[in-house]
């Protein structure tokens, strides 16, 4: 097996070339944690080699996040810096691409009062509203990649010591990022082509709804009128094709904000706002989450749903086969970027504009009537497993299989 440094270098290369697909003369904004400098430096060098006119690394430090909760005043909780968020938004409007390096400690805030977290998360979401719109509106090419961190690794592998846990987590990141293949760039191109074939098939079907059935789940997810399936690479509004998530195994579309009915049970724990939520069960009625249960973290979940009107409704439904490389690691990552590529999932909150045909030309009232949901939040949670079946329901009520035992049904030979 290749040396760690060599594989980190390959991860930096596919991040710049396949993930962001940075263009000559383009600017790149990177958000990362302090302990991720080793990968960040490699990415910065690759970005300049690719012709970047500037690479701005916006480092965060989880210790300073904790300091705000520990020592900060009420005013500090209620405040988020508009001058900072607006600057990032301006950079994207001026054409800057975006890369997030994600290795947060999923349990960072486990001892913080959920009420404080809710107050500050809301302030941040409001101050960052324009950035969210630009990114979810796919204004520029962007990507997210994972990075191991000691706290995260220990949560995933509690039985190992820190060094071993870090090694195992990096191994899983390299494997699911297809770094362990002979030619990672070619591997990603082939995988993306497969995703695009599945997307064309689903788009041709024009299903009115999806039906999920499994242990504790009997959920009908009505789809938005004129919904589009997407996944793998996409072309941003600036004309650049990029791969927004590394790894990515999902195809996803837009639920109808008022047409979700039934009970659904999460199949994995959800890491949210520095806490780990387990045993989530939710009942939807006319699109709205009307009953909410969680064996652990119920208060955090309830606060989340109180964010705004759209927080109780779905903004995404995504299908992932149980045979995906992420699922095959058998690891629960407590990290949506990886876990959402191990199982089919739904997301509470904001929908993606690329999942609705003619979004730009439609009025706000029309978008809403067709099913588009708006919210400050977008939180994915896993509802798929090898025991979950998914059917497509056509507008005349006919039902046909999409997934069986967690796997795609075979595509008809064309």
């Amino acid at each position: 097996m290749e040396h760690f440094e060599a594989r980190l270098q390959k991860l930096a290369e596919i991040t710049v070339k396949i993930g962001v697909n940075l263009q000559p003369e383009q600017e790149l904004i990177i958000t990362a944690n302090l302990n991720e400098a080793g990968l960040v430096r490699r990415i910065v060098a690759e970005a300049y080699k690719a012709g970047a006119k500037n690479v701005a690394v916006m480092y965060g430090d989880e210790q300073n996040v904790l300091a705000r909760y520990r020592y900060g005043s009420q005013r500090a909780l209620e405040y988020a810096p508009g001058w900072y968020m607006d600057a990032i938004a301006r950079a994207h409007q001026e054409g800057a691409a975006r890369l997030a390096i994600y290795g947060d400690n999923p349990a960072l805030l486990k001892d913080v009062d959920p009420e404080k977290i809710a107050i500050h998360s809301r302030a941040q979401a409001q101050a960052g509203h324009r950035i969210s719109e630009l990114i979810s509106g796919f204004a520029v090419n962007w990507s997210i990649v994972s990075h191991a961190s000691p706290e995260w690794a220990k949560l995933v592998f509690p039985q190992l010591d820190e060094v071993q846990a870090m090694e195992r987590l990096w191994e899983a990141i390299f494997q699911t990022s297809r770094i362990n293949t002979a030619d990672p760039i070619a591997a990603w191109q082939a995988h993306d082509a497969e995703l695009q074939t599945r997307i064309r098939w689903l788009n041709a079907k024009r299903y009115a709804a999806l039906h999920f059935r499994g242990p504790g789940t009997d959920l009908q997810v009505g789809l938005a009128e004129g919904h589009l399936w997407a996944g793998g690479s996409g072309v941003a509004k600036n004309g650049v094709r990029c791969l927004p998530n590394l790894p990515t195994e999902e195809v996803f579309t837009m639920p109808h904000r008022e047409r979700v009915e039934g009970w659904v049970s999460a199949t994995k724990p959800l890491s949210l706002r520095g806490q780990v939520l387990e045993g989530i069960r939710v009942r939807f009625e006319a699109g709205q989450a009307v009953e909410v249960q969680a064996r652990q973290g119920q208060e955090v979940l309830e606060k989340l749903l109180e964010t705004d009107e759209g927080a109780r409704r779905l903004g995404e439904v995504a299908l992932v086969p149980h045979s995906s490389p992420v699922a095959q690691t058998g690891i629960l990552f407590y990290n949506s970027l990886l876990d959402e590529n191990a199982a089919s999932h739904i997301a509470l909150g904001r929908a993606y504009v690329e999942n609705l045909e003619g979004f730009e030309g439609a009025s706000e009232a029309e978008r809403r009537a067709r099913g588009y949901n708006q919210s400050l939040i977008h939180v994915d949670w896993m509802i798929g497993s090898d025991q979950v079946e998914v059917d497509g329901i056509s507008s005349d009520g006919r039902s046909e299989p999409i997934m069986r035992s967690g796997e795609w049904v075979a595509l008809p030979s064309s």
Copy 2:
């Protein structure tokens, strides 16, 4: 002697309380290098305890600076992010205080083409023009503190190994920051009171010029009409008294941009743009540097003077006694923040508005006529030593001693 961590904690406390004097509900912007996180985290905690509504840490990474020069295109050299610089300026306009943690590797760019450095420095100065105006215009309370770094420590103590060199450099920083006293806050208050007494004495004198004499130096520095002496703590335009430099031993005022005459020799090497300049000699005529020599780094110096018209003229003249704690360490720090507090000095470039009486009410033409100099640069260099004498020349041509053998003459008992 106290444990290192305890002294670092004291440094964090005086930085927030004496240096920045952060106010409740105020925001704080910190610029720092990645390897300074240990001190930064302590400062962030102290700032939140002092009531900060937000602490934004803008981390830089010298490796990424090098990557730009090594791999970046011509466009990357010519570009600096306006969206970023404007955001910092906006934050200050909205009231944010500023703290710079300074531990740069003084020789970082020693192998980089000076032409490239000049191009990028100019782009940065232009993009950061509003920030410079706000800081040099003392719009908000701000401060700079030093932080040891391995490369810097090895440059200062080349005969020691890295661990020993870091220990020695930290020891010098703690000592010159008065951390090694029983009550550092009281020590700074007493020292500041002494500086204010010296400033009142100089302001009462209304000298027309200062005359520096020493080895290789015979320089007359005419002072701006209505010049004001300043130093130690000052009150920013937002009404907050702060100590802009930690440590600080100087009192300084504004030269007249057209009234500097004669030869001056630097008494210490100057660390500039990642290079170390030695043996600087300059001749001034009618305020302008007309002859420039440097035993090492002449090209960097010449590029600096080509920045703009004001880069050839003086923006500051400062007096520091040879008995200052910084001079007493006997260490050449290759760092202006410390070295400028070991010796009297002058600065090429931009003047400080607080050094001119009635600056706000004066037109640009009037300011200029009274001697105010504008430039994108402000570069201090040391011209004092225990062999340099300083006289004050009054408007009728009388001369009286200010410093002898590098020390203040005694104040008349009042």
